[in-house]
């Protein structure tokens, strides 16, 4: 009975090549063989296998890292994921299109506007809805960029915490609170907004909201200068992070990394500029790329500097979006929301968007009913975490912590 279930072959990737494990045996024996091989490898010399377990304050979530250590030096890292798997794709096969949006928010709960935006764009492409009111487009870009700033503030704040600096963490969170208050006034919730709906927005924009956003942006720019003086320009911080976790360009591209991880290695690729969606082609902004000014290109410091610069560019976009919003104040943001979402049978759409962590793609396939037939979310953190073995070899555990922080992973995004 069980022999038929495990007829497929699986591969266990190793340094020397590929070890083929025949899955005709039961799963228990497969596990034993793999563990035996790992044990033999680890008992050579002074190596030991240590679990940086799912409950760990520095792994940014429930990530289990199996480390093969030689003293303090990391020889091999194997990430084990799945501790936050919540069956997003299975849920999405059972509920109507517009009810999937709260589930989408929870994929990457830190930048949840971007997740909803990607899904809404995909469903709009599926049903052929291309013309939306300008106010909706400007508001969507505004919300996504505000969320990008909030997400990057977490990234740089917790990165400082991983390095050992506690004050920048609290300063970053203080400024993030302002953004969360703005978005709470707009949507009612602080983190999981359920605001960007298919064909528009869920609620009308309150009066005076854009004035408050302008106030926030004026308040925030000097705060970023202060933050830079405190952490970014600190010589000890630069020296600590400049030659850790160097990710070469070809390795980054071959693993499918996107977002600041890829841009930190020198590849100028940003979906907002190269394959613009929504109104991003109307805005003027630069795409920051790691330059390796202080050391090797693609280090942890480069990724951090890319995020700092992206915050500045997001502020630029927000200012332009506020000006654009000013001209279309009177429109109704709910006018284009379809009453019934029922795409054609067999229609399929794949739309990618740029979240703060990288490229998020949604593949939606419909079978003619109210309920999608398949929703696949391609998450950026999943590909980003796969480089951790490559770039952490030879460093110490403390460097591994910084590397995880620089990849800016969110386990909800990895596991979905």
């Amino acid at each position: 009975m069980f022999g038929n279930m495990f007829k497929k072959k699986r591969y266990l990737f190793e340094d020397e090549g590929v070890m083929v494990v025949d899955m005709d045996q039961t799963a228990g024996r497969y596990y034993d063989e793999a563990m035996k091989k790992l044990e033999i490898e680890s008992y050579q010399g002074d190596e030991m296998v240590v679990n940086m377990g799912p409950q760990h304050p520095s792994t940014h979530g429930v990530l289990r890292l199996e480390l093969v250590l030689d003293g303090e030096v990391v020889k091999k890292t194997t990430p084990h994921i799945g501790y936050l798997h919540r069956n997003f794709e299975k849920h999405a096969e059972n509920i109507p299109y517009n009810e999937v949006i709260p589930f989408c928010d929870r994929i990457d709960y830190i930048s949840s506007m971007n997740q909803g935006m990607g899904y809404a764009l995909a469903v709009e492409k599926l049903i052929g809805l291309t013309e939306l009111p300008e106010k909706v487009e400007y508001m969507r870009v505004l919300c996504c960029e505000l969320n990008r700033i909030a997400s990057h503030l977490i990234a740089i704040g917790t990165f400082g915490l991983d390095v050992g600096a506690i004050t920048p963490f609290l300063w970053a969170f203080r400024d993030r609170e302002q953004i969360l208050d703005l978005l709470e006034w707009l949507t009612g919730a602080r983190m999981l907004y359920n605001y960007i709906w298919v064909g528009g927005l869920a609620r009308e924009v309150p009066d005076g909201w854009d004035a408050k956003v302008r106030e926030f942006v004026d308040y925030f720019e000097p705060k970023m200068t202060e933050f830079n003086k405190l952490l970014t320009n600190n010589h000890i911080f630069i020296k600590r992070t400049v030659d850790v976790g160097v990710l070469p360009e070809d390795v980054a591209v071959s693993y499918g990394c996107t977002g600041p991880v890829l841009r930190g290695s020198g590849v100028k690729w940003d979906l907002r500029k190269d394959e613009p969606y929504s109104y991003y082609d109307k805005f003027e902004f630069d795409v920051p790329v790691g330059e390796g000014k202080f050391g090797p290109l693609g280090s942890v410091l480069d990724r951090y500097l890319v995020r700092i610069e992206e915050i500045n560019q997001s502020v630029r976009i927000i200012r332009q979006a506020l000006d654009g919003l000013q001209q279309h104040k009177g429109q109704d943001v709910r006018s284009a929301i379809p009453r019934r979402i029922r795409p054609a049978d067999g229609a399929e759409a794949y739309v990618r968007s740029e979240t703060p962590r990288g490229e998020l793609g949604y593949l939606i396939r419909s079978d003619g009913t109210d309920v999608p037939s398949r929703v696949k979310a391609r998450s950026p953190c999943f590909s980003n975490i796969s480089v951790i073995d490559d770039i952490s070899r030879g460093g110490m555990i403390a460097d591994l912590v910084i590397i995880i922080g620089s990849l800016d992973i969110v386990l909800g995004c990895i596991d979905r």
Binding site: I95, N98, E99, V100, I101, P102, F103, T167, R174, E177, E184, W185, T187, G188, A189, L192, N194, A202, R203, P206, E226, K229, L230, L231, N233, N234, H235, I236, K239
Partner: protein, 194 residues
């Protein structure tokens, strides 16, 4: 040699620049609140715990259908034509006895989909966020105004009505068969076996 001393110099200078920022922050007012004595005032559309005004509810099931996690459990009994349950605040006539309206707050994801489809706006989100309870049973909020005895009475009445209808239907069917078998030659619309 030069880099050694320039590193020391740069290290000290940048630390002092950073400390100048923290020194300035010492004289700014604190941004923290002394919770629970001081609380932040939430905006009017804040998504706190749900509340349903059962007097206004017309039992249309729209919220239960809109919920992504199916946490709203509704049971209604149709009112008899002679019973008058009044009108909802928006003018819709109430035609159902709402004998059960439970929301399982542990499942609720606070997405606010249910309130946006409610036609009488009897279901809304308050701004209460301190709802921790000690037992899982207290997490199910009951909003129906009918006591369990009343609810049971109404439900038995409905079940009896259904049984009555079923009996009447059966009797009519039996009578038709008896009339067809015992009477004159039955009229056939088409020949047997065709």
């Amino acid at each position: 040699m030069v880099t050694y001393f320039s590193n020391i110099y740069r290290g000290m200078v940048t630390i002092l620049i950073g400390m100048s920022q923290t020194w300035k922050a010492l004289f700014r007012p604190a941004v923290t609140l002394h919770y629970p004595t001081e609380r932040w005032e939430l905006p009017t559309n804040a998504r706190g715990i749900l509340f349903n005004n059962a007097d206004d509810c017309i039992g249309c099931y729209k919220c239960a259908r809109a919920c992504p996690v199916n946490c709203i459990y509704i049971d209604t009994v149709k009112a008899l034509p002679e019973e008058d349950l009044g009108k909802a605040s928006m003018g819709n006539p109430i035609r159902q006895h709402l004998i059960r309206f439970d929301i399982d707050m542990f499942k609720c994801c606070f997405c606010d989909d249910c309130t946006l489809v409610c036609p009488t706006e009897c279901l809304y989100m308050t701004d209460e966020y301190e709802n921790a309870v000690f037992s899982r049973d207290n997490g199910i909020y009951h909003f129906s105004k009918y006591s369990p005895e009343e609810a049971l009475a109404l439900k038995t009445r409905e079940v009896e009505q259904e049984m009555q209808k079923a009996k009447v239907k059966e009797a009519a069917l039996a009578a038709k068969k008896a009339a067809a078998a015992g009477g004159e030659a039955p009229r056939r619309e088409r020949p047997v076996g065709a």
